[in-house]
Amino acid sequence: MSDSSLANGGSGTDLVRLTAADTAASIRRGDVTAVEVAQAHLAQIAKVDPLVKAFLHIDADGALEAAASVDEARAAGEALGPLAGVPLAMKDVVVTKGLPTTSGSKILEGWRPPYDATITTRIKDAGIVMLGKTNMDEFAMGSSTENSAYGPTHNPWDLTKIPGGSSGGSSAAVAAFEAPLAIGTDTGGSIRQPAAVTGIVGFKPTYGAVSRYGLIAFSSSLDQAGPFARTVEDTALLYDVLHGHDPCDSTSIAGLSFDATGAARAGAAGDLTGVRVGVVRELGGEGYQAGVTASFDDAVATLKGLGAEIVEVSCPNFEYALAAYYLIAPSECSSNLARFDAVRYGLRVGDDGSNSLEEVMSLTRAAGFGPEVKRRIMIGTYALSSGYYEAYYGQAQKVRTLIVRDFQAAFEKVDVLISPATPVVAFGIGEVVDPITMYRNDLCTLPASLAGTPAISVPCGLSDGLPVGLQIMAPALADERCFGIAAAFERATGILQIPAVTA
């Protein structure tokens, strides 16, 4: 798509297929207004979302208002930011003042927060136009968005398939051209896995790079918000809006300032000469679909062709990542979700005068939480209970240390580590019922979550018509490196074709 085709406003379809960078440039030049861009995306949502079901709440009025103020600012001669006027889909785990925020749960149905998350404020301040809130696994617990209390989201590549999770609404919205940008959160892979299975780019930052203030907590020591887009550059542009120190989040890293966009643009030159790329032996082989392995092997060859030196590395403790994760995350969530108690906000069930507060709390939580959330609360309550803490949570935290050490040892030899982003491509909605089988979807993404290191997923081909993602992992605080190498890879392989639903 060339920008000149927009000289007279362009058609709605043209507008939704633009990259965020091109959209913003067109708005800045005056080829198109932000309101027209917002309208085009709202029209696309109206057209495809009845099938995809990416959104839980569409804020058309708010979006048009935000777009209009970008247009007014431009008319007033103000300089517009790099993403001003570009639409965005917000995962419903992020608190938005006055807009429904449910985290995919019945227990928060109808809640309108009295405050904005820090990233919500940053997005608004950047002139980005928020279209609405996207579907997700309840409280971000899941890998398929089937655990939403509001029904599943469908993968735009094949509506019978899952869009990944927990940020499946956001990934599906971007893949279906409902928005060029989206926010996800990644606790064990909830950005990278949905990005991979919907054929888009998703980035999990270094833990502490993006404020968690206003993210409804799942697992506090792992949760990170991050960007989705269809190109590496767009992902980088959004990341540059999101990251930075926040005094409201004690775990936010001070004095941090990345130029992810610059790294992506530099990387797009495509030369990886001198870059050492480590293939993680433990993240492949048995349990990985043949099509995934084939696409990954192609990706390795592509990187080699770009000049990278490929090295196989071993990270022996990665095999304990799944076990450690499924102790830490449920433990923290059992505590984080205690606040949903029918006192200050949200659902209340059984308050008929005959039940005590404890009974009302228990009935409310039983009715308001779905089975997976209850399961994890139960596991976490057990793992933290007296006599078990050391064996479970304590031991899992030590495993984290060992995984960090594996990463450190590997990064002494290589600049980045790569693996498939998921062991399998998108599976059918309703196909996986066993919790442990479902948990195995996160095998590749968990180590970087536990180590708090940055990782990106970029499309690396199709397997039986479904997208496969390449995961690129960098050392803590080397977030820019992920973008640089991903951009080089993207330049060499091209952006994936258009998914079925939008064709």
Partner: protein, 495 residues
């Protein structure tokens, strides 16, 4: 069957310990910027953080950390070079997150002591730990009884939720014998004085800013320590003493009857002075502590600690020694002041310019009497050395008589106002209008002819009754000596 205290001590030795919660005097809460001001309209000092709204995160108040370190230093504690907050998980409607951010096995301050003196003997009270946590909101129970039991429903105000609290835990204190209750009380008083001197808390027990849980056990001499009970909600110095004593007597009764002491939580009743079993929880609570992942470790470096140490004010023990020396009193006099619990009050009054003898008279006399009537310590009354120093000054310059001075003290105790305000509001001043006094004297003589005759007959001492009558008629505003002179003159009796 109830044993006498002497019976208890004949057979058993007590071991006590205290856990004291103190609200710090920061202007904002522990983890958010909401005001800590007392008495605001319900739920007006709340925000996403202290309401536990989804997504909100805590950030530690730096002054709360510094105050805690100062307390640790004043209590001769070691300061942890690295420690973490922990979550204490349990459901309760006044706790917004249903976990309390506290410290578990890594307190900021640990292993200290303070020395307290009781009846001339020094007792060393070991400090196990000093740690930080957050307060809860307040429940109001609505129903016929107004109490939790039998309430139809409750109302929750979160203004207090998130106020910084520190918990100071003593080591078990054996070896106090009969004086265990007094030593426990003296420790609490010493702790309160230290907290006040540090300026880290206003320590208003009546507002609940200092609350104690008292652990008590008994053992036969030479045997291992007995099972302890924990008595909650002990909120005054005198109650600490009473709680230890009543628990010693209760436990001794059980032990004598061959009954095992149950490890349990009990509640102290200010009205009866004894303890009652708390409602036993249906099952033991499992707090599922784990390190608070939303906060990073507290790691004060030596430079920070030394800067805080250097900034510590003169502590009460040192100050007391210095002041006592400056008063030039005998040991007996000092002991009398100590028994009345007024040493520091007298010292401070003297520092404000009052003569030592006057200061001692007021605190040890009238004020101590008032404290006794109210069953509190003089220091717990709403009257300060500044008040007493002002009363002494007004009496000294003749503006008030001693009797009027006492009325001024009464006024301060009733209202908490400044002395000058009380004097103005009550219209307290010495009546020097001779005509009015003469009229009052004549009335008194007319009303008490028998007494008047006795005086005329030479029993001059009987004039006292007439003086009292005149003083009463003038509401104490006359100078008693002047009244006496006028009466004698009217009765024609030479001085």
């Amino acid at each position: 069957m109830s044993l006498s205290y002497e019976d208890v001590l004949a057979k058993y030795e007590p071991v006590w310990g205290l856990e004291t919660h103190v609200e710090l005097g920061t202007v904002s809460k522990m983890f958010c910027g909401c005001s800590t001001e007392f008495g605001a309209e319900p739920n007006t000092h709340t925000c996403p953080v202290c309401l536990g709204l989804p997504g909100a995160l805590p950030v530690v108040n730096e002054v709360a950390i510094e105050s805690t370190i100062k307390i640790g230093l004043a209590l001769n504690c070691s300061i942890a070079s690295w420690c973490r907050f922990a979550r204490k998980n349990y459901f309760y409607p006044d706790m917004p997150k249903n976990y309390q951010i506290s410290q578990y096995d890594e307190p900021l301050c640990f292993d200290g002591y303070i020395d307290v003196e009781v009846e001339g003997q020094t007792y060393r009270v070991g400090i196990e730990r000093v740690h930080m946590e957050e307060d809860t909101g307040k429940n109001t129970h609505v129903g016929t009884s107004g109490r939790i039991h039998g309430a139809e429903y409750s109302l929750v105000d979160f203004n207090r939720a998130g106020i910084p609290l520190i918990e100071i835990v003593t080591k078990p204190v054996p070896g106090c014998g009969a004086l265990a209750p007094e030593v426990a009380k003296a420790y609490t008083a010493a702790l309160r004085d230290i907290l006040r001197a540090l300026g880290v808390s206003d320590v208003r027990m009546e507002q609940g800013s200092l609350r104690c849980d008292v652990n008590t056990s008994l053992n036969v001499p030479g045997a291992e320590w007995g099972t302890r009970t924990e008595t909650k909600n002990v909120n005054s110095l005198r109650s600490v003493e009473r709680a230890v004593r009543s628990e010693m007597i209760r436990q001794a009764g059980l032990l004598d009857a061959g009954t095992r002491i149950k490890q349990e939580t009990r509640h102290f009743s200010e009205t009866t002075g004894d303890t009652r079993p708390g409602r036993s929880k249906e099952e033991a609570t499992d707090y599922r502590y784990f390190p608070e992942p939303d906060l990073v470790p507290v790691a004060p470096d030596a430079e920070w600690i030394e800067r805080l140490r250097a900034g510590l004010p003169e502590l009460p023990a040192a100050r007391r020694t210095r002041i006592i020396a400056s008063l030039g009193l005998t040991n007996d006099e000092i002991q009398q002041m100590a028994n009345a619990g007024v040493v520091d009050l007298v010292g401070e009054t003297v520092e404000l310019g009052a003569p030592a003898a006057e200061a001692r008279n007021w605190w040890q006399g009238y004020v101590a009497q008032k404290a006794n009537e109210r069953e509190v310590d003089a220091a717990e009354l709403p009257i300060t050395p500044a008040h007493i120093a002002r009363v002494i000054a007004l009496v000294a310059d003749g503006s008030l008589s001693t009797a009027l001075g006492r009325q001024a003290v009464d006024g301060v105790l009733e209202t908490g106002n400044d002395v000058d305000v009380v004097v103005a509001e009550k219209g307290l001043k010495v009546v020097s209008d001779t005509g009015a006094l003469q009229a009052a004297a004549d009335e008194a003589i007319a009303a008490n002819p028998d007494v008047a005759q006795k005086v005329r007959d030479g029993k001059v001492a009987a004039v006292g009754a007439l003086v009292g009558s005149v003083m009463k008629a003038t509401r104490g505003q006359a100078d008693a000596a002047a009244v006496r002179a006028i009466l004698l003159e009217r009765l024609g009796v030479p001085e």
